[in-house]
Structure formats: C-alpha cells, structure tokens
Assembly symmetry: C2
Homo-oligomer: 83 residues x 2
Amino acid sequence: MARVVVDVMLKPEILDPQGQAVQRALPRLGFTGIADVRQGKRFELELEGPVDEAALVRIREAAETFLANTVIEDFTVRVEDGQ
Amino acid sequence: MARVVVDVMLKPEILDPQGQAVQRALPRLGFTGIADVRQGKRFELELEGPVDEAALVRIREAAETFLANTVIEDFTVRVEDGQ
C-alpha cells in the first residue's frame, strides 16, 4: 500500500496563533534559538492502487476542495518514500 | 534561516476520529481508492543558528516534552531541504 502525505499550512501572511503560542512557550521551557514556529496539519493517505499521476491528480483535487481551505492555507502533496 | 519540521502523528494503535471522518467523507465527495487516512500535526521551526547535531538534539527534546504527547503520539524531526 502506498502512502501519500498532504501537508496543509496557513499561508505565510495569515496569523498563526497556535504557532505563536508554541514559539512563546519554548524559551520559558529552556529552548532558545527558535525564531518562528508555524503549526499546520499533516494527512497520511494510504492508497489502494498504485501512486500514478492520475492518483496524484485526484489527491491534489481532494486536498484543494476538502483538506485545505485555499483561501487561507497552502498545501503540498508528496509520495512518502521508504514505506 | 534553517527550517526544521516536526511531524506529530497519533500512534498506529490509537483511534484517530479526525482521520476517520476524512476517510468517510472522501467517497461521498467522489474520491475513491483511499484505504486509510490519519491526521496529525506539522510544526515548522525556523532556527536562528545552524542546524547542527546539538540543535537537533534540543529540538528532539522539545518535541518529546512539549510538541508531542508521547503516550499517544509518535514524532519525527527532519531538516527541510530546498529552503
């Protein structure tokens, strides 16, 4: 079974309060040197068939219409290696 | 500035209702052939200094104690290429 990963992140110009909360908490916990944190979503999709171009087109369509809100989010689709 | 990505996913044996909701919705929306969906979190950390082994050790520590709940979640830390 092949795995395709869809990463969904807020666009850079959109405020990310979750990421900011993490970023502000890190120094208090002793972790310094981290300039910025952004938090997003990761979807792991297990495909029944082969991961060919047609499958990836369908997954990009699903990501665009359903997994991501493309008004405020960017997404990337990639096949995960080493499965 | 170097980017390190921390992916946090529920352990395989832990029920993932968010992923299940996505999986069940996909066929209704016309996307078939997807056997399983898991949903997790993706953190993008922008480091001020170089991404050396010491920095990665610190980030793994932060991921283990703070970004992930290791009772129910697994995490991976990796340097993002092509920045």
